[in-house]
Each structure stands twice: as structure tokens, then as C-alpha cells.
Symmetry: C2
Subunit: 633 residues, 2 copies
């Protein structure tokens, strides 16, 4: 068993039905419809300077209209669309992107500055409100878009525009006289700059990312100084506290994950990136402390993050209300980014477990089955009034869904010099260049619904290397064999990965059996909202009960007896095939209750059959109530 | 059995321990300390015009500082203090009131107008924002204060000042040319004017109250017109919808209780007053419809009203969250006002049941045992971070607590020409003038803890009349006797009142036995927050579990088995004597759980003894968690 140091993630071809379907929906429906929505909303027009015809928001009201964020929306759409192009070139999509690039090229100031909102509205006020107005955040998303577009098509006009802008930013920010010692209120530029550095190899890009990270939370506080310079009282910050944007103290001194959940996840992703690129143990250590904090006390079972709408973020430990959960789709996507990067730092199944949990539950839920409707927040309970939106005034989540799914192939496998690791399963194939030569791999499975996994390993020539197979934390008593010979899974598994080192020959086959069966899950007794309640899981999928499958009243009136057997039902007729769970349960009847609000006789309870569906699929049929945490009787 | 038409409520002397203690605390501690707090806050200084030294709020920010409400705070304190004086004259209190009257006299404009905030800040903008700025509301509370002060002391200087102001209001508002067809955004003036009419007999006062009520919700909408006249867009109303102040439609057409709970209760109280004074069946009918709505779907078991902080009011039917319940003390006090007036319209125990429920639970809770700390909102669950305030920037609830308790003697008994009705019990005595002569009554009991009630009936001369005794809705199998002879309670009880008609002789005695025993109460299954939960009641008292009595963790971790016997414990050592409840229960343990947030093994449950305390007494000892609705196992 060799030590695995994952150096790079590898892109794979998606062959399994589960991800083919999601990918195809995003490529053919989500990406084009998002372009239409961006046009309708005015985002595209806002890039065409000057744009007097656009109904611009009134000063002070920029947040409500989301207009200061529109450059980022364009950038995220370009990124998602470019991932689509990397699967299949499309002249329409490319023309739409080129139009945006034309606009950005014209809009760019001679010195490289490029923020359409400021250029249009307040060209003399650039960089005067980093705390609230997202200039660097916007650049970050444009940059991720420009990089993805270049990688998908080889066209580098957008990347060139943005590199000029980055050059301007490098000159503007820094510790030297005449430079600003600022950083963005909404983290994002940092991880984009690391991506740029990985592409360009230009150390200046990495250094700028590190600079922004290191300045964050320094005293005297930049956002205080900046507010005073604007003639404002720093205490009038509408979020009240700098915990909101994680600038309350230097990042290495933070021990609790606080504030706005998406900002936190983007920051932590960049911290992990910088820890890897700079071999910075203090950043890695801070990431580990904050990981432990969020996982032990602040994450929903769906991997949703952020209990409160008020700050779009975290409240106190173990406060996880279900019906009012914010659990923004972006935050779960951000958690996937972070977990992905933690895996980069250290091959540890606890990161992959969370990545998978967030992917199949917190993140996938954000996009409807038809690919054109979105959840911004993802409560774990609904009285029936919640539905996905066709669009949102702040459409950040929409493009986080599409860019994640369109790039999902990058999350399955990673490789080092002489080892390969599988983090996810679901039917993929790829060629990997190891020190010993090229290896073709094909993983075949009906994951996440079934746990029988077969991996064909075909090196061009016989070679010795290690294949690490993730054994999910929820998989008890996994079994594996190579060419029919059993592998001792317990002995060979370390940190959640089964390592198989041997001389591989073309056509060798690994069989991995992950027992997937329904499980009852309980929450820590300090989570008062879940006391007396149980959730159902099967493999990585969290289940919920939806009224459409459980007619007869609100699903909140269902109770699942502790000893009821949970049965698995394959439903080929539903959503192109899905596994549901059923059990004998109890329904609290309200028919006989009458008009009074209170009475001294308990409600009548009748027997019923409960059906549960994977959470990520809820609200794709008839509207109705939904619940993840069921009363247990 | 004679038909009872309650014509008047009668004031009684409080002799029982329960109310003596509350009254004494309010007289000796609450009233003086409130005067100190009003001084500290600036309320008293704000009446001394001009008052340049006062840090006045910035325009647009009046709501946050509460300054536009300060006249009302002064008025409510005078009212509460005057009720105190009616129990026991006090030169200090009288001097404080006289100082306020001096200020008001000096502040009053030559034309009678008297609103200190407008006179000080924007004298030319009187009556330009009835929707938000509470001018008539303030007058209403001053008027209630002036009336109470006159009745307690015979001094009519304040009343004269206010009558001049009312004359000015009568000229200003009305349907004639040059008059404003407006009404107040916060109802209150209407019920104050009815009180004034009952004192003065001046029909103009009653007509003005009716005018304001009838104008409410008329189209074109006054608040729209008024906003346009101010140069504002009516849609910029910060509460968004006129449901907030119940002006969305004419009052007789309202069928659901909506919006701000206190405004709704004050309005409904005035509607019941006007229905009585004007024999207006359409108003009475509207009250009955709205009563049925609130009682069947919007009232907490504690009689708290208003589920949401956002509008300080009602949300949708059956939405009754426990931890975030707003349930403002003022709203429960307002419900008592309304129920009291409904009883005036019709002797029906369902009104008295709610009055009593609101008094002993929703309202009494608002004031601490020591009389100097206050709950503004009254949640039915706390994680331990809730405590009463020493004061509040909007101290409306503080004086609603004191004026209710200082005038509680007016809620026990009412009388008509030839009949008497007891609505509450608790140790009172009074003299009542009937058509047949004077009757002395003395009711002796240890109510609400015990249900043995003895009533001595002593007419000056033998006389025939009816005594109606309320049989609470929660009292099953009550027994009664007169002079030792049993009365057939079932046969003689109608609409919740046992009517005993006979020739009464001095020294006749009624014995009434109301069985008070612990009850389990369940909520309608549509109240999703209470599904699977049970509340404990005993007589009129709702119980809660508090951490101080149930150490070992959050009380949310307790479960009460369905079959556990609830035992009654007399605790002479606690709060001068109280009855607690105890039962064998279960505690969900968190000690053994460990660090993980979720796991597939249920938590360990251990046996324990649960102790419950009357809800109104919570948060008078050590801080800690509290819960009314217990998980039932």
C-alpha cells in the first residue's frame, strides 16, 4: 500500500445513466434557458456600455436589485457554458459568449479596469466600497469563466481582457505606498486567482491571492477605514458585524465558521488552494479546525449550510431549524469546492463523504428535473408553499447548479505519479498518464442507487501502481476482489480508501460491493429541532416524504414507528428510475378533530404506508408538503 | 332562571392572596419604577416643551426610537398609576402625575392640539401621517389616563385638557368640507372615546368613535391619499399591506383576523363597545365572526396572539411556532379587553374562558415576580437565552401589564338590574346595587390553584335575584350548593354560567366546587409545530418545564410518556405558594453521544422525574431552557 498524494484531478467521460441524464439536461435546457433569463433580467444589456435604456437601480438600493453582481452572473454563465462546450461544441452558445466578450472588450477602461456597474454608474468611485459592492468578486467569476472558455475552446480573447484587468488589480492592491490594502467583502477572487496561476504559472497571480487572504481581518480594519473615507460610520454596516464576511479576525485565527455561508465556503476553498500551492501548514491547520467545526455542529443532514435567512448563514452551534433552513444551494456547491480541495491536501474519506453528501443532497436539489427551475434555499421541511423559482433576482444559485453539473466529471478520479483514486462512482471512463505509462479505466455501476461497482483497469503495458477506492463512511462491510480474488478490505483500507497495489495487466477487473441499504439516522440531542425525529438515508441519498406520494394530509402528520421495517422499492417508472423507500407508518388524523384548536383527548392515529423519495427529487411533481425529519413513534 | 344582560362591571376589593400579592407588587414596585424608567428614557422630558436638550430621533427613524409613541407611554403610566391611587392614595405618585399635567397644559396649542412630538419637531405637519405616526393613538392613551385619574382622585385638570384636544379632533375629522376623512393607523382612540362618552354622556364622543371605525378601510383609501399628499408612493408603506393595520377593508366586511395583533385587539374591543352602545348588530356579528376565527386557528394555548415578529402579528391559520412566537404581552392584554367587552354583549362562558386563559397565561407572564422586569414577546419555548427586560425601547407592554393588574378588580363581577355574575374567582368582596337593594358579596377561594369556592350573599333585606356563577370550560363535573342544599349544576347551567335564582337572605352561602386536576392538552393536527406533543394544564393555568426544576440539560430533551401519571405538588416554599406538577418522564441523553452530529443509532434515553411550573412564573429564577409543548412518547 503506497502513500497517496493526490496531485491532480482527472476529467472523466460520464457513461452512467444517472449523470448522463443530469448532464444532458444542463447542456440542452439549463445553459440555453439561463442565457434567455440573463437577457430578460437585463444582465446582458448591462454589459453593453453605455446602456441608458437599462432601468438602473437607485443608489443605496443596489443590493435589492442585485445589479452590482451582474458581471459575476455573466461570468458564471460563461463558465457553465464553457464546461458544456468541453462536452460538445455548440455554435449558438459560442456566439452568445463571443457577444459578451465583444461587450466586455468595449467596456474595458484603458487602464484595464472592467466593472460594468461602476463604469456605467459611478466611474469615479471604483474601489471605494469593497465591503459591499463585489468588484473583486465579479472579477473572480469572470476569470473563472474566461479560464473555462479558454480551456474548452482555445480562444483566449476573454482571458486576455481579464488578465489585463488582473494586472490593473495587481497594481492597485498591495502594501506599497499608493496601493490599497483592501480585499473583497465577498470572497471569490482568491480561488479564481489560484486557478489563473495554475494556468499561467505566473507567480504574481498566486501572490495576489495570498495577499488578499492574508490581509483579511487585519487591524486597523480596512472596511472601517474605507467607510470613513466614504464619509460613513463603519457601524452603519448593514450586516452589523464583520463575522458576516469572515473579516472579524485574520483567517488563520478563525476557529468557528461564522457569517454568510457562501462567503465562508469560497474563502475556505481558497485557503485550501493556497495551503496546497504554498505548502502553508498554518492555512491547512486553520482549514482542518474550521472543517471540524462545521461538520460537528452546523451542517444539515442534507449538507445544507446556513440556518438563517437574516445573514444567509450560520447561527449558533446545533441550531438547525428545518422549515426555515436557509441552506443556500450556493453554499452546498461551495462546500463541494472546499471538500474537493481538502481531498487535494489529504486523501481522507471524510472529505469525500461530505463532498458526496453535498452533491447528492444539498446541491442537486437546487435544479429541477427539467433543468429550468431552481431552489435558492433548501429547507428540510415545507408546508407545501415552497416551489422552485423560474429565476431569481439574485441568480447566483442558478449558475452554481449548472457549472457544478457541467463540470461534475472532474470530481470522480484523481491521480498522482503512480496511483489513482476513485472518490465517486457512477459510470465513468478515463485515460490517466502515470509514471509507468497510460492506463485506461472504466468504472461501471448504477450508483448511487446500487453499490455493485466494476472497474476495468487497462494499462497500455503491464505496470505496477496503486488504485485507491473510496469506501464511503455509510458503507458497512464492503467487499472487493480483483480478477475474482478477494481483497481484505478492512486490512487494506486507510482513511476511507481501499488501496490495491499490484502489477496490473490490460483487462484486469476490480469488483467492489458497497452494501447500500436503508438506514435510520438520528441527530445529536442538542439539535432541538430534530429531537424525537428520524431521517432516512440509503447510501449517499437522504430521503424525504412528499405529499404527492403520501396523500391524505400534510406529511408532518406522519409518524414512523421505531421498529417499522424500511423496504426498498425500485421504481423504473419514476424519473427514469429511482429507488424509493416504504414502511408501515402512522398518520395523525385531522378529519375527526373538529373546529377546536385544543382539546384534552389525543388525536386519533391510523395505520398507513409511508413512501419516501430521494430529497434531491422533491418538488418535481405536484406541489405539497415535504419533510426530511420524521416523527418517530 | 332569568335572562342575564350584563349592564355593568363592578369593581371589587381584592382579598385573596393570589391577587393581593400581584396588586401590592404593582403598587409598590412597578408603578414607581416605571416612572423612573420613563424619566431615564426621556419620555417625561419629551413632554416639557421646548426640550432642545432631548436627543430627538432623526427623521425617518422615529419608529426605531419609539419617540412618536411617547405621549402614549405617559398616558398609559398615568392610567396605571391612577388605578393604583384608587386602591391607595399616594402623594408621590400624585405629584408625579401633576408634573406631567403641568407639562401637558403648557404644551397644548391654543387650538387644543396636543402631541408633544409634532409640537416639538414638525408643528406644521400635524395630521399628515395618520398611518404611521400614532397621533390619535397617543390621544387615546392620554384620554384613558385622564379618565382614570379623574375617577381615582376627582381631579379633572388633565381631563379638561384632553377634552379640549378631543374638541379639536372633532372639528378636524369628519365628512364635511375642510375636514379629514382619516383614522389612526394604530387603533386605540376609538375605545378611549367610548370610555369618555360613558363618563361625559356627550354623544359627540361616541359619534367620533363610530366615525373612525366606519371610515376604516373605505375606498378611496385614506392612507393612499395621505401618502400621495406627502409626496410619497403609497406602495412604499413599510408594512406593505393594509392588512397590517386592519384597514384593508371596512371592519364589518372583515372575516379573518389579520395583521398586527395589538391593533387588531384594540379595534375589536372598540367594535364590541360600539356594538353595545349603538345596538349595532352588524358590528356584533363581525366581532363574533372574527372571534371564531382567532379562537379556532390563531391563538396559542397560552392565549398568546401573533406568530410572527415581522408584522408583530398573525400569519396563516394554524401556524403557531413555539420558539419564535411573538405573542406580545400587549396582544394578550388586548384580548382580555376584547373578551371583557364581548361578555358585556352576551353572557357566554366562552368569552370568560378566553379572558381567564389570557389573564393567567399570556398576560401575567409579561411581568416578573418582582414587578420590575418585562416580557415583550412570550414564546412558548426558549433555548435559555430569553429573559425579561428591565425596560424596552418601545415600552408599550410594560404599562399594559401594570394597568391591567392595577385594574384587575373590574373583571371579576358584573351586574344587571336584578342579577349578578361572577366571571372570575380568587377572593373578592363587593357591594352591588340591584333594583331590589344593596347586596354585599364575599367570594373566598384559593383560586386559581384550588377550586373550592365559597360565596357569602348578604342583601340588606331579603330579596329575589339571580346569581350567575361561571363554570369554566375546563371544569368537568362541578358541584354547587346553597346553604347546604345541592344545586343541579347541569340543569341550571347555560352558556357556561350556573344561574341560581331565589330569595336571598343575609348570610346565605353558596359553595361551588370546581374540580381542578392536571390535564393533558393536544393541539389540532394542523398545528405542525405541536404534532406529537402535549401540554399540561391545571385549571386555567398552562404549565411549562423550566431547566431550573429539571437540571441535566435542555428541557427540549424531555419526553413525557402518554401513560405517565401527572401528580400535583403543593409547594408552599416557592413564590409564596404554588402548585407544581410532576411525572415520570424520559430524558434523551447527550452525554454519551460524542462529537458527531448524526449517527445511525438512536440516542440513549433514561428515566427521570419531570417538574412543571405555571407558565406565567417562568424566568423568575435561574436562566435556562423552557418548554410548554413536551414531546410525548
Amino acid at each position: 500500500m503506497s502513500e497517496f498524494k493526490p496531485v491532480r484531478f482527472v476529467d472523466v467521460a460520464l457513461e452512467g445513466q444517472f449523470w448522463r441524464e443530469r448532464l444532458e439536461t444542463v447542456l440542452t435546457r439549463t445553459i440555453p434557458s439561463q442565457h434567455v433569463q440573463l437577457g430578460k433580467q437585463g444582465v446582458l444589456l448591462s454589459l453593453t456600455l453605455p446602456n441608458q435604456s437599462l432601468p438602473l437601480s437607485v443608489p443605496g438600493n443596489e443590493h435589492d436589485s442585485g445589479q452590482v453582481l451582474w458581471d459575476s452572473d455573466a461570468g458564471k454563465w460563461i463558465e457553465a457554458a464553457s464546461y458544456a462546450l468541453s462536452h460538445r461544441r455548440d455554435p449558438d452558445i459560442e456566439a452568445w459568449i463571443e457577444n459578451i466578450v465583444d461587450d466586455l472588450e468595449k467596456a474595458q477602461a484603458p487602464d484595464g479596469y472592467l466593472n460594468c456597474w461602476y463604469l456605467q454608474r459611478e466611474p469615479d468611485k471604483r474601489w471605494t466600497n469593497l465591503r459591499d459592492n463585489h468588484e473583486l468578486y465579479n472579477l473572480g467569476h469572470l476569470l473563472e469563466g474566461g479560464i473555462a472558455y479558454f480551456l474548452a475552446t482555445g480562444r483566449r480573447r476573454l482571458l486576455d481582457i481579464l488578465e489585463r484587468y488582473v494586472d490593473h488589480v495587481c497594481k492597485t492592491f498591495g502594501p506599497n505606498p499608493g496601493q490599497k490594502r483592501g480585499y473583497c467583502g465577498h470572497q471569490e477572487i482568491e480561488l479564481a486567482l489560484v486557478k489563473l496561476y495554475r494556468l499561467t504559472g505566473d507567480r504574481m497571480h498566486l501572490d495576489l491571492a495570498a495577499y488578499f487572504m492574508n490581509e483579511r481581518g487585519r487591524q486597523p480594519h480596512y472596511f472601517d477605514q474605507e467607510a470613513v473615507a466614504r464619509g460613513e460610520n463603519p457601524r452603519d454596516f448593514r450586516a452589523k458585524r464583520y463575522e458576516y464576511n469572515q473579516s472579524h479576525r485574520p483567517v488563520r485565527e478563525q476557529t468557528k465558521v461564522v457569517g454568510h455561508a457562501v462567503r465562508a465556503m469560497y474563502m475556505l476553498s481558497a485557503m485550501a488552494d493556497l495551503a496546497a500551492e504554498l505548502n502553508d501548514d498554518s492555512l491547512k491547520k486553520a482549514c482542518e479546525v474550521l472543517w471540524a467545526d462545521v461538520i460537528s455542529s452546523k451542517i444539515y443532514i442534507t449538507s445544507g449550510l446556513g440556518a438563517a435567512a437574516a445573514n444567509e448563514g450560520f447561527t449558533k452551534d446545533h441550531d438547525l431549524p428545518n422549515d426555515t433552513a436557509y441552506a443556500e444551494t450556493c453554499a452546498s456547491v461551495g462546500l463541494i469546492f472546499w471538500a474537493h480541495r481538502m481531498l487535494h491536501l489529504e486523501l481522507d474519506g471524510r472529505y469525500a463523504d461530505v463532498l458526496e453528501q453535498a452533491l447528492f443532497n444539498g446541491a442537486l436539489t437546487g435544479l429541477s428535473r427539467d433543468g429550468e427551475r431552481y431552489f435558492y434555499s433548501n429547507p428540510l421541511e415545507s408546508d407545501g408553499r415552497r416551489s422552485r423559482w423560474a429565476w431569481h433576482s439574485c441568480p447566483c444559485c442558478t449558475m452554481n447548479s449548472s457549472r457544478l453539473i457541467a463540470s461534475i466529471g472532474g470530481y470522480f478520479v484523481s491521480a498522482s505519479e503512480n496511483a489513482i483514486a476513485f472518490h465517486l462512482y457512477g459510470g465513468v471512463s478515463t485515460n490517466i498518464q502515470l509514471a509507468t505509462g497510460n492506463v485506461f479505466l472504466r468504472e461501471t455501476s448504477a450508483y448511487p442507487f446500487f453499490g455493485s461497482i466494476r472497474i476495468e483497469v487497462s494499462p497500455d503495458a503491464p505496470a505496477e501502481f496503486t488504485i485507491n477506492l473510496r469506501i464511503p463512511g455509510w458503507a458497512h462491510e464492503a467487499e472487493a476482489s480483483v480478477g475474482g480474488c478477494a481483497v481484505d478490505v478492512t486490512a487494506c483500507t486507510r482513511n476511507g480508501y481501499l488501496a490495491i497495489s499490484r502489477l496490473w495487466n490490460a483487462g484486469d477487473t476490480i469488483a467492489l460491493e458497497l452494501p447500500i441499504s436503508p438506514e435510520r439516522i438520528y441527530a445529536h440531542p442538542s439539535v432541538k429541532q430534530d429531537i424525537g425525529r428520524v431521517a432516512l438515508k440509503r447510501g449517499p441519498l437522504v430521503y424525504c416524504v412528499e405529499e404527492v406520494d403520501n396523500p391524505g394530509g400534510a406529511v408532518q402528520q406522519l409518524k414512523l414507528p421505531r421498529d417499522a421495517r424500511i423496504e426498498t422499492v425500485e421504481r423504473g417508472d419514476l424519473f427514469d428510475g429511482v429507488v424509493t423507500l416504504t414502511a408501515s407508518a402512522e398518520r395523525i388524523e385531522d378529519q375527526e378533530w373538529g373546529d377546536s384548536l385544543y382539546r384534552n383527548a389525543p388525536p386519533i392515529v391510523s395505520g398507513c404506508r409511508l413512501t419516501a423519495l430521494p430529497y434531491y427529487l422533491w418538488n418535481n411533481r405536484a406541489k405539497g408538503s415535504m419533510q426530511v425529519w420524521l416523527l418517530e413513534s
